[in-house]
């Protein structure tokens, strides 16, 4: 192998959805934890959105969400779920790295 790393537009974009609830004490922490970690990545390579399950139960249904907060990696497949507020965890970073998205220097 040449060791060439996929870069720029040729690599798939990672799609993340954070399922939360407005009435949940974990929502703010999960959102903050996600945003803090995503700040270290090229935002063009990661699409991140937040979805309130009480507002969009049908989306939660489609994505098979039972818990909240849940961070769902929708793309690339296969999907992966990180359940919890992501405190003290490298789970999100690991997820992105496993998709070939490295943190910015």
């Amino acid at each position: 192998m040449s060791g060439a790393r996929p870069s720029g537009a040729s690599t798939p974009r990672v799609e993340l959805v954070l399922y939360v609830g407005a009435d949940s004490s974990h929502t703010a922490a999960a959102r903050r934890n996600c945003e803090e970690r995503l700040a270290r990545f090229d935002h063009r390579r990661v699409r991140f959105e937040v979805c309130d399950v009480s507002q969009h139960p049908d989306r939660a249904e489609d994505d098979g969400i039972c818990f909240r907060p849940v961070l769902l990696k929708r793309r690339p497949l296969p999907r992966a779920y990180v359940v919890g507020d992501l405190s003290n965890s490298t789970a999100l970073v690991d997820l992105l790295v496993s998709c070939g998205v490295e943190p910015l220097r």
Binding site: P57, I65, R68, A80, V82, V83, G84, D85
Partner: protein
């Protein structure tokens, strides 16, 4: 007990154990190891609820929607039809195996709660079956979190007014109740399903461990899963309509009618005990014949010989059983108890009796069943049989093989409780002759002779004659002389 509202489940026996069914608008926890029939029970109840007008959601986490519906359809629950009619909604919440779930930090179960609220609003469901809590909470959160998740879920069911059935895996049959260890606190009813190994047989049982604000039957009850789903055998009889009038019918043997003060009583179970060769089967055949000749429907369960042999033996002594069978009033079914489980045999009996609707039932002999099972299994079987018989006001004659000289002695307490009348047949060698005797040991609700009667075999069956006190004493002396001469 309070005015708690209950919903009938339609599962044979379940509504008896629970004195009316599930607690309406509350949660019931069903626990058991894998393979104990939790899903079958859940789907069976769901189907019944739908058929009786309660729209139901089944949440499948362990199995896909297609698999659950197929399982139900195989057992005749018609889940696909109920789904098409919009009465049943199966929500597929199975997680793909290739989609990993990582736990990181704190969370709650409100995602599912919001989805269920949405589903209930869409479908108008009033009941829910969750299959299973164990699968839902995998990977398992810490204990305190788990407890709060489970509480949130049950609270959600309650808020939505759902009658809920929550299935959960038990790590073992008897030790810790559930894998999660927290579910039973928040549910109004807890049902335990078990699959025990009893000697060489597997035995299914079901137990209502708790029913808040309601009475229920205590302890384990035998149950079985057949092609029609789960059936439970409550070990005591449902109330039968009591007839004011005492009705008698002929036992089929003139002398025995005399001994019993005019014949057997309707709606009673006769136990005929005696050693091998004492005439039990012949008496059973005469009983069946007399019934069929009166144009009653009679079913004869033979557990000792193949059907053709049994019919041929009866016809040899001129009972004309073959003809009565062809006439349709007498049905003879021969089974080998060794070849089936007692639970399946019970179901078989129950279905057979429902279809044929006999007024008289013969079982010859219950000892064949006794020998093919454990003591506990046999006891439960007999109590189940009594329940099936009494539930329909049937009369039955059961035979039991005992050692010679012991037929009039005490019977196992559960057997004497079941039997409304006990008739003993016995014999004793008295030199060249064999003294054959018959006694009515007990007969509930009727006067009866307690003296021994003399029994002779001959053409047409049994001949029973009153024995004078002197005649009997002479016969006993002859036995004693013969025994003394040999010792």
């Amino acid at each position: 007990m309070s005015m708690m509202k209950k919903i009938r489940t339609g599962v044979p026996g379940f509504d008896v154990l629970t004195t009316g069914g599930l607690p309406a608008g509350r949660s019931t926890l069903v626990v058991g190891r894998s393979g104990t029939g939790k899903t079958v029970l859940g789907l069976q109840i769901a189907a019944h609820l739908c058929r009786t007008g309660t729209r139901t959601i089944v949440v499948g986490i362990e199995e896909s929607k297609e698999d659950l519906i197929a399982t139900g359809d195989t057992l005749g629950f018609n889940l696909s039809g109920l789904t098409t009619q919009g009465l049943l909604h199966v929500a597929d919440m199975m997680r793909a195996l290739d989609e990993p779930t990582i736990i990181s930090g704190e969370y709650d179960v409100m995602g599912l709660v919001h989805r269920l609220e949405h589903l209930v609003a869409q479908t108008g469901a009033q009941a829910i079956v969750l299959d299973s809590a164990t699968a839902l909470f995998t990977p398992r959160p810490p204990q305190d979190l788990l407890r709060s998740h489970f509480f949130q879920l049950v609270h959600c069911f309650r808020r939505l007014g759902l009658t809920a059935i929550i299935l959960a895996e038990a790590p073992s049959d008897y030790a810790q109740l559930t894998t999660l260890g927290v579910e039973d606190y928040v549910c109004d009813m807890v049902v335990i399903m078990r699959l025990n190994v009893d000697g060489e047989r597997r035995r299914r049982t079901i137990e209502v461990a708790k029913y808040r604000r309601s009475g229920h039957y205590k302890g384990e009850f035998p149950c079985t899963i057949t092609t029609r789903g789960l059936a439970i055998f409550p070990l005591d009889a449902p109330d039968r309509p009591e007839s004011e009038r005492i009705e008698r019918y002929s036992s089929g043997v003139a002398g025995l009618d005399e001994m019993t003060n005019g014949g057997f009583l309707r709606n009673s179970i006769m136990l005929v005990r005696g050693p091998t060769g004492s005439g039990k089967t012949m008496l059973a055949g005469l009983f069946a014949r007399a019934g069929a000749l009166r144009s009653e429907r009679v079913v004869y369960y033979g557990f000792e010989e193949p059907r053709p042999t049994l019919i041929r033996n009866f016809d040899q002594i001129g009972l004309g059983i073959g003809e009565l069978v062809r006439g349709g009033d007498l049905k003879i079914q021969c089974r080998y108890p060794e070849a089936t489980s007692l639970e399946d045999l019970l179901v078989d009996l129950r279905l057979g009796l429902e279809e044929f609707q006999p007024s008289l039932v013969v079982m010859d002999s219950i000892s064949s069943i006794e020998h093919a099972s454990s003591e506990k299994g046999f006891r439960q079987f007999m109590i189940g049989v009594a329940s099936i018989l009494r539930g329909h006001g049937r009369s039955a004659l059961l035979t039991q093989t005992v050692l010679a000289g012991t037929a009039a002695e005490h019977t196992a307490p559960y057997l004497s409780t079941i039997a409304d009348a006990i008739i003993s047949l016995d014999y004793s060698p008295a030199g060249y002759e064999l003294n054959r005797t018959m006694r009515v040991v007990k007969m509930r609700g009727s006067a009866h002779e307690t003296h021994p009667y003399r029994l002779e075999f001959g053409a047409g069956g049994l001949k029973i004659e009153r024995w004078s006190s002197d005649g009997y004493e002479n016969a006993v002396r002859a036995e004693d002389r013969w025994k003394d001469a040999r010792s």
